[in-house]
């Protein structure tokens, strides 16, 4: 066992670390992280409406959609929160391509603001403002939101490269020293900016000529659906679920490393679910105009119970079984943090990291919980995820809120927790026996 761990530590960890520090992947991760204020503003607005103020909301379920309170809030309160959507969730792709251009330039020591703005320009000119799809989500009329995430990602990675290439060639307008630096900086961006936007205009032109579609429409018709279906494939989901704790076992932040994959695919599906639900879509499945069974928040509310590796389950098992004083101390501290899905004290304090006893349950429990929650959602026992809740929302409550009040979802999260406890239990007992023998 120790030999195996050492082998992985020598071969696998440096590779993961290298990938984690790779500039483009880091930029994707940082760009998505910088969208948090937008995502949360929109998410809270949707959550408020879905819980309190609309006729299909949680409160309306209890007091009836015809109740005077609901009729009044639908008329006078809900429109305020609905209006927030246009300035938050509906412009995620626009925000993403700016953030990507900005973060890429920052890591290359170039003018971040100019590069970000030029990237937005390229994104828009590809046709972001014109969406007309009678088949899928016909209520969305542009690509600035979730529908445009992938193109935003591609443009956000390519446009800065062209920009840097021109800057590195030295094709910039030099100003005499007497010109204020801010003005000189703006002038420096002129030629690289022109070339970048011109290059994308050529791409736009090429697509129109060859396919009679703009880049966005072409991508949506030919690739997006396949990509999303691949994302909903249970094996892709299980692989991610297993890789996260495996990385964590070596002390690397698994979810952070995987975010570059998870955010574009599952984050997009998350937003599509939120928008679909608001527009009256209720069926769950992987087809057109259906709510996806597995999205980004599914991990937060069903799998990361107490943090990656479902350490809440481990902590409960420890407090139940373990006699080791140190372990109990860590578990007690970990229980409090775990309530808000923070578990570094447990992972590094117990430790779980590089501790051969916990390798198997730590890596195994996430995929098993994923299976339970995936099929519970697909079968309709648990409602689909239609709200975004902060990842620090306590376990079970998170599932209840994210599914807009599905009791089945709360029960599924509880069931996942119990399954994880059962997986951890034999290993906690073994650790405790070893401890007793040493005493």
């Amino acid at each position: 066992m120790d030999g195996f761990i050492r082998l992985i530590e020598v071969k696998f960890v440096p590779l993961a670390a290298k990938l984690g520090a790779q500039k483009h992947l880091a930029a994707i991760r940082d760009a998505f992280a910088s969208l948090m204020p937008l995502i949360m503003a929109g998410a809270v607005a949707v959550l408020m409406n879905n819980i309190f103020f609309v006729s299909w909301g949680l409160v309306a379920n209890f007091i009836g959609a015809e109740h005077p309170f609901i009729l009044w809030t639908t008329m006078y309160i809900a429109p305020i929160f609905s209006a927030m959507d246009a300035g938050s969730l509906s412009i995620l792709a626009l925000g993403l391509c700016f953030a990507l251009g900005f973060k890429r330039a920052e890591s290359e020591n170039k003018d971040a603001l100019s590069c970000g703005l030029v990237t937005v320009g390229c994104f828009i000119l590809c046709g972001a403002l014109s969406r007309n799809n009678p088949l899928v989500a016909s209520y969305i009329t542009h690509f600035l939101g979730a529908q445009g995430i992938f193109i935003a990602l591609v443009v956000g990675l390519i446009a800065p490269e062209i920009y840097f290439w021109a800057v590195n060639k030295g094709w910039i307008i030099q100003m005499p020293d007497s010109v204020p630096p801010a003005v000189a900086k703006a002038f420096a961006g002129i030629i690289p900016g022109f070339l970048t936007i011109f290059a994308f205009a050529l791409v736009y032109y090429g697509f129109i000529m060859l396919t009679s579609m703009n880049v966005f429409t072409w991508f949506e018709t030919n690739i997006q659906a396949t990509l999303m279906q691949l994302g909903q494939n249970i094996f892709s989901i299980l692989l991610i679920s297993a890789l996260i704790p495996l990385l964590w076992f070596f002390g690397l932040h698994g979810a952070n490393l995987m975010e570059a994959v998870m955010a574009p695919i599952y984050g997009t599906l998350n937003q599509l679910n939120i928008q679909g639900f608001q527009n009256g879509i209720r069926t769950v499945g992987t087809g057109l105009n259906e709510l996806s069974p597995w999205v980004r928040d599914s991990w937060n509310v069903y799998v990361f119970l107490g943090g990656s590796g479902a350490t809440s389950a481990l902590v409960i098992a420890l407090l139940w079984i373990s006699k080791a004083k140190e372990d109990r101390e860590v578990a007690k501290y970990g229980l409090g943090c775990g309530l808000f899905q923070v578990n570094e004290p447990v992972l590094f304090g117990l430790p779980v990291v590089l501790n051969a006893i916990y390798l198997i349950p730590f890596v195994l429990c996430q995929p098993v919980m994923t299976l339970v929650a995936y099929y519970a959602t697909l079968s309709g026992f648990a409602g689909p995820i239609v709200n975004t809740v902060p990842w620090t929302t306590p376990p079970i409550l998170g599932a209840y809120l994210a599914t807009n009040g599905s009791i089945g979802a709360a029960l599924t999260a509880l069931c996942c927790l119990l399954v994880a406890i059962v997986i951890y239990l034999p290993f906690v007992i073994a650790a405790n026996n070893a401890y007793k023998k040493n005493q």
Binding site: A16, A17, K18, G20, A21, A26, R29, D30, A33, S34, K103, E106, S107, W248, G251, L252, H253, A255, N256, L257, V330, Y333, C337, F340, V342, E344, P345, V346, L347, F348, G349, L350, P351, V353, L354, T392
Partner: protein, 100 residues
């Protein structure tokens, strides 16, 4: 006065450590300013700090940050100290690194 920046994935777990470090530093009468921030913010704000400390879970950014901030002290916190949220030990690490 030492300005210490703690970095982890979301700035959550380092903020737990931050509180313990502030307590320990006060006890030692070692003057510090400590903040915890997510890794995505580092390149924007890193230059304002004397020492950048990475949580062990994001230590894979160490070499990249050393390259970005060649004049700063950049280090990662040991898993043991981090797990115990041992403010005193990390303050001692800072003093050792900064030779205070």
């Amino acid at each position: 006065m030492r300005k210490i920046l703690l970095i982890c994935s979301a700035g959550m777990s380092t903020s737990l450590l931050m509180v313990n470090m502030q307590k320990a530093a006060r006890k030692m009468e070692y003057e510090t300013e400590i903040e915890a921030h997510p890794i995505s913010m580092v390149k924007t704000i890193g230059a304002q700090w004397d020492i950048l400390l990475l949580g062990p879970q994001v230590r894979f950014h160490l070499s990249d940050l050393k390259r970005t901030f060649p004049s700063k002290t950049v280090a990662s916190i040991s898993m043991k100290d981090y797990g115990r949220m041992d403010g005193k030990a990390v303050i001692e690490q800072v003093r050792l690194l900064m030779q205070d």
